[in-house]
Subunit: 187 residues, 2 copies
Amino acid sequence: MDEQRDAQGAAIDAADRLFYARGIQAVTMDQLRSETGISLKKLYSLFDSKEAILLAVLDRRHELWTSGIARAADAVSTPRDKLLSIYDFLHDWFTDGNYRGCGFINAFGELGATVPAVALAAREQKRSFQRYVGGLVERAGAPASLAPQLAILAEGAQTTAAISGSADAARSARDAAEILIDVALPH
Amino acid sequence: MDEQRDAQGAAIDAADRLFYARGIQAVTMDQLRSETGISLKKLYSLFDSKEAILLAVLDRRHELWTSGIARAADAVSTPRDKLLSIYDFLHDWFTDGNYRGCGFINAFGELGATVPAVALAAREQKRSFQRYVGGLVERAGAPASLAPQLAILAEGAQTTAAISGSADAARSARDAAEILIDVALPH
DNA sequence: ATTCGCAGAGAACGGTCGTTCTCTGTTCTG
DNA sequence: CAGAACAGAGAACGACCGTTCTCTGCGAAT
């Protein structure tokens, strides 16, 4: 049934928006119902529980992040520029108006200690990002130790931008990344 | 009354431990009562509300962080080493066994959108840290743009260590900081 | 010694939330 | 056209939580 998948997708989109903007426990199933127009009965036929919705949201966010940085990297050619495109992507995100930090970090802080699946999803997303950076670093011909450094800059920029409410962190992280890359690169 | 202040301090310590380990909304006032041995009535005579306890906890955490990095910096002499001591301090913290990320970032993600005072406390703590790094950078004779870069490395190390469950991020951040400092420093 | 005030312990209250159930109407089948 | 399976809407349920209230006992002051 396409209708079922559409309803699922719409529910996930709305839940993502609400969870991200307000925090997960601050969103009730009833708010999700009124926001989507999907009855509680149907919501519970599409998902086992609120936790299942959250995990679907995190999965979706993982996909969006992955395709987002991939698209940013596709716009440039050299591995060096692809690495730097991460921080341009972040800058766009930070200035998007509704930015409130990394959804995985937020979910981890709120529920990571009580809901193991949330901690796992966050860990998986971060590992996936580290692998992505590691691949680019390798193709740039830089030592592997550069990858976690660049990833840490990206993580730090996300939390700094969230709490300060400014997108400047993306620029600072990019500048730092440029220096680290150029020092690490043989030339 | 000293007894009152002791009870307040004990309540704040216990609340900090519980909030940090489990998440704020996962801790009930009743758990706080049984953990401290302080009756609900007395807890509510010491604090106006659970939110007031949380804000006191965040204040205390701010003090502990400030004195912690100051103590680490006191153990070395040059501004360059004082800057690097931040990441050694972080490494000690990450390996302490109960590390679960930066309490301010966690509180911000969970409640920053619904409780303005929490967002404010987080912003204040990050600004205070940025000022601290800025002072050290200035005394090291490096350009001011280095400070946010080093702060971002520290923030990124905290979230990366929290989610990965490993202290390696402190070492990576320290290595990156060393490079950035040495490139920025006149020599 | 009696009374007054205070403090502790936990019951009670009001509200909320995740989840399920009931009831109504509808659509598809024979 | 009759009836059975289904879907929607929202009421209901059971549990929980922050906060307040009540009741009991103790200590101090007159």
